[in-house]
């Protein structure tokens, strides 16, 4: 495939589960510094797409390139080390560890067994944890056990764990699910701040939230891309209206 300037280039990607094509010949490009929102009805293949990019699911065919480097066939943890961060749909944090430990473990150093044995929590690490904790609004609860956080705080903590790694591509699966109105606002602000200097892909259902944050919106339907463009353009697209409102 051709080399591009895109941060992420997904080309002719397909994956089928027992003959069912969850992703069907999909092509998608994400720019550097772009915040892309993917929307679509349930079962459109949004989460599967993120799974394919981060390696949780293996593609049947097609190519995924990150900074012109082919990703298909690369192990998950190596993709992370290349700079891809993924937040899961349900907050996936270490409930029994403190907020501090959750963030510290995510610091991208000492990732091999020997490295981890030698790893020391230096001032640099502590400062980074502090900075990220401030960013996600958990600066005052660093010593709290993460399982005691509210649902919204857990979502933020997982975003914070990804920020610790300073990824170039950040993928967030429904980051505001289960959040209050106020928490949503704070999250929108957070996302706007953190998409500077990196590309972000967000899956979301809440249209007001999407309108607030999206640079560009991609609409997926039945494993394919239905429409792509600005929020207004997408919202007035008759195909999109048809899919969302039904027949």
């Amino acid at each position: 495939m051709s080399n591009t300037d895109f941060a992420l280039a997904v080309e002719d990607l397909s994956v089928s589960f027992d003959g069912f094509k969850a992703i069907d010949d999909l092509t998608l490009y994400v720019d550097k510094d772009e915040l892309r929102v993917i929307i679509g009805p349930n079962g459109a293949g949004k989460t599967t797409l993120l799974d394919l990019i981060c390696g949780k699911t293996k593609a049947t065919s097609g190519s995924i390139k990150f900074k012109n480097e082919e990703l298909t066939g690369v192990e998950e943890y190596l993709r992370v080390r290349k700079g891809i961060g993924r937040k899961f749909q349900t907050p996936s944090i270490y409930e029994n560890l403190s907020v501090f430990k959750n963030l510290e473990v995510s610091y991208p150093e000492g990732r091999s067994v020997l490295g981890a044995l030698r790893f020391k929590c230096t001032t640099a690490v502590k400062e980074r944890v502090q900075a990220v904790a401030q960013e996600i609004g958990l600066g005052d609860v660093l010593e709290m056990e993460a399982g005691l956080l509210s649902h919204g705080q857990k979502q933020w903590l997982e975003i914070g764990m990804l920020l610790m790694q300073d990824p170039e591509l950040l993928m967030l699966d429904e980051p505001i699910a289960g959040m209050s109105a106020r928490e949503r606002e704070l999250t929108a602000e957070l996302l706007k701040r953190i998409c500077v200097g990196r590309s972000v892909i967000v899956i979301e259902h809440d249209m007001d939230f999407v309108a607030q944050i999206a640079h560009k919106v991609t609409v997926m339907h039945q494993g394919k891309i239905l429409a792509e463009g600005s929020m207004e353009a997408v919202q007035s697209n008759p195909k999109v209206i048809d899919v969302y409102l039904g027949h």
Binding site: Y94, V105, G110
Partner: protein
């Protein structure tokens, strides 16, 4: 003083010191050499239990085949001792003098080449650690890279235990078969059957056990320990934070295997023989029971568990030989059902709060209550009440 106490309790060293006092001073001063040797034997199993705390408690990987590594360590040591006991002078009535007696009985006329290196003590000592670790690496790498875990892994380790037992029993001429390796006498000319040798071996055993506990404690406090706990909770999150989860499991499996190997070697030295009855499925499961009774999260607890269960085993098997197996099963079921964290958990949840209460009671001022929930962050303060937690699966 207070700082020291705090540091002790935080690092978990206090309980290790207590255990050390018990093993180094209390037991040798109060027990005769026969009983002390018995304790030394139990402590060999404690090595396996300590390994299981790391592997099962912290790593979340249950192995039902730790007897394999105990056995391999034990056989590595026993092979050296057997060769020394089989010098041409004391085996001159054999058809082929100078080889172990069981080889002679099986019409083997020359020492097999793979036995040769075990003539050297340094090689044998390295083998005690390396052979279990290498086997654990091979099995672990093959399993964990393919993401085999949980029950499937436990079953495979059982299969390994069975295979090794069958192999040892079947290859009688090379391994001593079902009788194992008996009549171990001296190590570099030093008679290991005398009382003084038994004392020394007991202290060596205690020293190695405490060193293993400290090593594991250090690993628990390192980032590896945190990662093991994190993996047990959310394996995918660790993987998608850039860690090769399988290698951490392989590491902890190898660690547990090597520690079990030391236990096996000390067993061969203190008890004077090694046999396949310590390798198979049943002993492997018994070893898991030691860790479970002691508390699978607590290194020190595992040592107590091994001591206590073996005490019980000796006592009950002498008094009610027919009932012992049922007692053991009842103990395991009871512990897993009512005290999933074993003795250590019981201490943490029941005894410790009671102790602190009775200690602080005479003082006028009650200890400052820890903040129940730290105040929420300012950014959160004006947000709506947190939404209900999703139901735990």
């Amino acid at each position: 003083m207070n700082n020291l106490r705090q540091w002790f309790s935080k690092s978990g060293l206090g309980s290790v010191v207590l255990l050390a006092i018990l093993l180094v001073a209390v037991f040798p001063l109060t027990l005769d050499i026969f009983r002390l040797n018995l304790i030394g034997k139990y402590l060999c199993y404690a090595f396996v239990a300590v390994g299981l705390v790391m592997l099962w408690g912290w790593g979340g990987v249950l192995s039902l085949g730790q007897g394999v590594f105990f056995g391999l360590g034990g056989y590595a040591m026993a092979m050296f001792l057997k060769l020394e006991a089989s010098d041409p002078e004391s085996t001159k009535i054999q058809t082929t003098p100078g080889i172990p007696d069981f080889m002679d009985w099986n019409q083997i006329t020359a020492l097999p080449t793979w036995w040769e290196p075990f003539k050297h003590l340094p090689f044998s000592l390295i083998a005690v650690l390396a052979v279990p670790a290498v086997l654990a690496f091979i099995v672990g790498f093959a399993m964990f890279k393919r993401r085999v875990g949980g029950v499937y892994f436990a079953i495979i380790t059982q299969a390994v235990a069975l295979i090794l037992t069958v192999l040892i029993i079947g290859q009688q001429g090379y391994t001593g078969g079902v009788n194992g390796m008996t009549d171990l006498k001296t190590m570099l000319g030093w008679d290991i059957r005398t009382d003084s040798a038994k004392y020394i071996l007991y202290f060596v055993c205690v020293g190695l056990l405490l060193a293993s506990v400290l090593l594991c404690l250090w690993i628990q406090k390192s980032k590896v320990g945190t990662l093991l706990l994190a993996m047990r909770d959310k394996e995918d999150r660790v993987r998608f934070s850039g860690y090769d989860v399988s290698m951490f499991k392989v590491f902890v499996f190898c660690l547990a295997a090597a520690i079990s190997g030391i236990g096996g070697a000390m067993f061969a030295l203190q008890v004077g023989f090694m046999s396949p009855s310590f390798v198979g499925i049943v002993p492997s499961i018994e070893m898991v029971i030691f860790a479970a009774v002691g508390g699978r999260m607590s290194l020190v607890g595992a040592v107590y568990g091994a001591l206590l269960v073996n005490f019980g085993k000796t006592y009950f098997s002498e008094t009610f030989p027919d009932l012992w197996m049922f007692c053991m099963a009842a103990l395991f079921i009871g512990v897993t059902m009512f005290f999933p964290d074993g003795l250590a958990g019981l201490y943490q949840s029941k005894l410790k709060p009671w102790l602190t209460r009775s200690r602080s009671a005479p003082k006028a001022q009650p200890p400052a209550a820890p903040p129940a929930r730290p105040a929420e962050s300012p950014r959160m303060a004006d947000s709506a009440p947190p939404t209900a937690k999703p139901a735990q699966a």
